[in-house]
């Protein structure tokens, strides 16, 4: 069960939509006062997880606790302690920013005067004080996101869920949202952030869970995940397919980390020191008299790192690490 320090706890959570398994035994533990990133491709189950945590979606099995309360048994208690910034603006776009904040404030039972005061405060804080009666529909994407965020913060929630908060925003809008999230965390709020962008998780999160196929496939600090996913590689393509095995033997790579692709006559391995690895490889091939068609160093792109973490490699990595 919960150990005092956890603001979010999911244990072996399952959710099925018809045939599709959206969550297949998801485990998640987020310590109070930290920012946790849920990183994964489209359809990995990130949004489903957030909707379960925010009491919007029933789940089929497992345990889910938010701010110390069971989301199924004590939904009302959970709702008093959370803020939600969904993927799509959860605003009444026909109304102005002030009207939105006052309405949500009243629904949080701050009272008419309390709601008005809080709206003033948040409009000021999120740089929306000058928007007057303009309906939210006519705000820029970044402004709308900030208003949405302000609405999520009306009651200074203990736990804040941010579901892909910057998807669809231009770099400036993205920067604005990141700025706001950072200032929040300084105030002690626990934040769960879902994102498809490694960079975003890297900038904001203390720890990251990489999600794929409805379960967590890797977990750690951004630094740990990057070293695991983002090492440079050296690729060697030999001219003669018959000498591939010999090449694997003579090359100075750790056997556990070496990948062999027979169709492409390719030996590939991660490296630490790029130049030394290149020199050693060429020397080893020359000494054995194996002719190489191509020897190349490459840095994994962000996309590759991501693919590796969410693809088969990550699972293999998990098993190797275990």
């Amino acid at each position: 069960m919960t150990e005092g320090g956890e603001a979010i706890l999911m244990e072996d959570v399952h959710k099925r939509y018809g045939e599709k398994r959206a969550l297949a035994g998801l485990d998640l533990a987020v310590r109070r006062g930290t920012v946790h990133g849920l990183l994964g491709p489209n359809g990995a189950g990130k949004t489903t997880a957030v909707r379960v945590l925010a009491t919007l979606l029933r789940y089929d099995g497992g345990l889910v606790r938010v701010a110390g309360h069971d989301v199924r048994e004590e939904a009302a208690r959970v709702r008093r302690r959370i803020g939600l910034l969904g993927q799509h603006a959860a605003l009444d776009e026909a109304l102005s920013g002030r009207q939105n904040l006052e309405m949500f404030g009243r629904l949080f039972h701050l009272g008419a005067r309390g709601a008005r005061a809080r709206a003033d405060e948040l409009l000021e804080r999120f740089g929306l004080a000058g928007t007057g009666r303009t309906p939210a529909a006519r705000y820029s994407g970044g402004m709308r996101r900030r208003l949405d965020l302000a609405a999520s913060l009306l009651t200074e929630p203990e736990v804040l869920f941010l579901d892909e908060p910057t998807t669809g925003l231009d770099p400036r809008g993205r920067g604005e949202v990141w700025e706001s999230v950072r200032s929040l965390v300084d105030g002690g709020t626990t934040v769960l952030l879902t994102t498809q962008y490694l960079e975003e998780a890297d900038r904001l999160a203390d720890r990251i869970s990489v999600v794929d196929g409805g379960r967590v496939v890797a977990e750690g600090t951004p630094g740990e995940l990057k070293t695991r996913a983002g090492r440079d590689r050296i690729d060697v393509v030999v001219r003669d397919a018959d000498r591939l095995d010999e090449a694997v033997r003579v090359l100075p790579f750790a056997p556990g980390e070496t990948a062999v692709d027979r169709d492409r006559r390719l030996v590939s391995a991660p490296v630490r020191d790029r130049m030394a690895a290149l020199a050693e490889t060429v020397r080893a091939l020359e000494a054995a008299g194996i002719e190489a068609e191509d020897v190349a160093l490459r840095r994994p792109t962000l996309d590759e790192a991501f693919l590796r973490l969410t693809g088969a490699d990550a699972r293999r990595g998990e098993e190797a690490a275990a």
């Binding site: 993927q87 603006a89 605003l91 009444d92 109304l95």
Partner: protein, 254 residues
């Protein structure tokens, strides 16, 4: 959560709808003018060829009032699906507010609009020569029956909108509302129709309201004894659709 919070939540949600009106006066005006246009069109253009008992305008006005109550379902559906589409309902559902306050706000606003619509239409009807002969109590009773029908259609509309989910699907439901509205005695007397059609029309819940309202207004086409049916039909629809709508709203996350 106390009853005071429940009342306050419902009032906040009603105010939200009223704020929408203040934002979109043109849309509200169009909503009021459309049934008036139908009334004028049928009264002066189509009406000439109808055979009904008595004066056609006296026959038509109660029918159009009834039809407007039924067609109000479309406005309700559009408003509900638009909310669902925008994600704002997600925020409401993730907040510690009273279950169903969202729906109550919708219902209150739609009822207010329908009441305003009735006033405008009776005014225009009066200008066209329509008269009610039943006295103030009967007049109020007729308006009550009309609003009761609207209330039942409202919850049917909320339920159908929650089931359809997307604005595109609403259109297909709307197509079904039209024959329901027109397969009634709103424009024509069932006596003038082929037997089977007349029978279908007589069984349309809308016809019960139209007949009872005509009776209360003292207009042609009214028959005594229909008031009970005009109360029971909407109540039956309410008994079906109100719990379905509330249940569906609670289970949005299933």
């Amino acid at each position: 959560m106390s009853a005071a919070y429940a009342v306050s939540d419902c009032w906040t949600m009603t105010r939200r709808e009223l704020a929408h009106w203040a934002r979109q006066p043109v849309q509200v005006a169009v909503g009021l003018v459309f049934p008036v246009m139908m009334l004028v069109m049928f009264g002066y253009l189509v009406g000439g060829g109808r055979t009904v008992p008595g004066d056609y305008v006296d026959f038509l006005v109660p029918g159009m009032l009834t039809l407007t109550m039924v067609f109000g379902l479309e406005g309700t559906m559009t408003a509900v699906t638009r909310d669902l589409d925008k994600g704002v309902v997600d925020r409401f559902r993730s907040m510690p507010m009273t279950d169903g306050a969202v729906l109550v706000g919708r219902a209150a606003a739609d009822m207010l609009q329908s009441a305003a619509g009735l006033l405008v239409m009776t005014g225009v009807g009066y200008a066209m020569g329509w008269r009610a002969h039943g006295g103030p109590a009967a007049f109020a009773g007729a308006l009550g029956l009309l609003l009761l029908l609207r209330f039942a259609m409202l919850w049917a509309g909320i339920f159908l909108a929650l089931v359809a989910g997307r604005p595109e699907l609403v259109q297909s439901v709307q197509i079904l509302v039209w024959p329901f509205g027109f397969l009634s005695n709103a424009f024509a007397s069932p006596d003038s129709m082929p037997g089977w059609l007349g029978a279908a029309v007589e069984w349309n819940p809308m016809s019960a309201t139209a007949t009872a309202v005509r009776e209360l207004f003292g207009n042609p086409g009214g028959e005594p004894g229909w008031v009970t049916a005009a109360v029971l039909w909407p109540l039956a629809l309410l008994a079906l659709f109100f719990p379905l709508a509330v249940r569906r709203f609670r289970r949005l996350g299933a």
